[in-house]
């Protein structure tokens, strides 16, 4: 429920209860301020933390001496409530309600509707991982190519310009050594590490959706 919906329902309930226009405006401006103070983008959370507008209205009406049929539900009040036992950030106390089928469905709908937001993010992360792997492989290939080229070129140049040829040959062998040194531990360590990384990332993405379905809204 967003701010507008909450305030509209609150107004309707207060009007139906017969509260004076001044009192109604006072209450509405208070609740609007709460939404604004809680911060932009936290409307759903704030609305949820206050309970239904009907309950809120009943409490206000009762305080103004208007009796409303049915037992008014007082929000739970406990001393030293353990903070954040099941609550999201910002110290909000979520309403003590079990997630019904409706809220789970709503979570799924929200997940689907917000896909323009998370889809690009997932794509960016995947692309970055891919780029990293490609860069590492490219650097490796460049080293190998340079080593081979220098050795062949060095042998070729050896007879015409012995000094240049020897230097090229030496550099080529030097690079070959580096490649061999990097290659052995890097390949044996990197391949399983990349595999694990991709696997855990996929697991994280899947977990995000499972959690999102349960906790969202």
């Amino acid at each position: 429920m967003n701010k507008l919906e909450f305030l509209t329902r609150l107004r309707n309930n207060l009007e139906r209860g017969g509260l004076g226009p001044d009192d109604i405006n006072d209450a509405l401006s208070y609740y609007e301020e709460v939404f604004l103070d809680a911060g932009f983008g936290k409307e759903e959370e704030t609305a949820a933390s206050m309970g239904s507008p009907e309950e809120v209205a009943v409490n206000i009406l009762r305080e103004s001496g208007i009796h409303v049929g049915g037992a008014p539900v007082m929000p739970p009040q406990r001393m030293n409530a353990p903070q954040g036992q099941n609550g999201p950030a910002m110290g909000y106390v979520p309403p003590k309600k079990k997630a019904s089928g409706g809220t789970i469905a709503l979570g799924i709908i929200l997940g689907v509707l917000t896909f323009p937001i998370w889809l690009p993010l997932v794509i960016v992360v995947v692309t970055l991982l891919f780029t990293l792997i490609v860069v590492l492989i490219s650097v490796f290939i460049a080293f190998v190519a340079a080593a081979i080229g220098l050795i062949i070129g060095g042998i070729a140049a050896l007879f015409e310009f012995p000094a240049v040829g020897l230097m090229a040959l030496g550099l080529g062998l030097f690079l070959t050594g580096i490649v061999i040194l990097i290659c052995k531990p890097a390949v044996s360590a990197a391949v399983p590490a990349i595999g694990r990384g991709i696997k855990s990332f996929c697991g994280w993405v899947v977990g995000l959706f499972k959690k999102g379905g349960k906790e969202n809204v």
Partner: protein, 110 residues
């Protein structure tokens, strides 16, 4: 589990917070949350009641292009808060004497 807070105690705590500093509704709730599990919807009737009882008065202050309603304690509110505090001290003592076995009549400690 927890202990319930009654309306009087809530009134007293709100008065005490406002006495320290003029403040606005959202901040009062955040402050109360340190001790009590309440929501904005619990606080509004309390503020309204205190306002109607002339314990608190309000004024608007500009904040980021909008008005924020600040609460200020009145002389009447101050007097009432003192009464509440006195009452709480004796109440607390009585509860402690039973719950914590403190200051029983025959062995008066503290």
């Amino acid at each position: 589990m927890g202990f319930s807070i009654n309306a009087g105690l809530l009134d007293a705590m709100v008065l005490s917070i406002v006495q320290n500093n003029d403040t606005y509704g959202y901040e009062i709730t955040q402050y109360l949350r340190k001790a009590v599990d309440i929501s904005e919807s619990t606080l509004y009737p309390v503020l309204r009641r205190l306002q109607k009882g002339e314990m608190l008065e309000t004024y608007d202050k500009e904040f980021m292009g909008r008005n924020r309603r600040y609460y200020r304690i009145t002389t009447k509110g101050n007097d009432s808060l003192e009464e509440y505090r006195e009452e709480w001290r004796s109440h607390k003592k009585k509860i402690d004497s039973i719950l914590l076995n403190e200051g029983a009549e025959n062995n008066e400690q503290t």
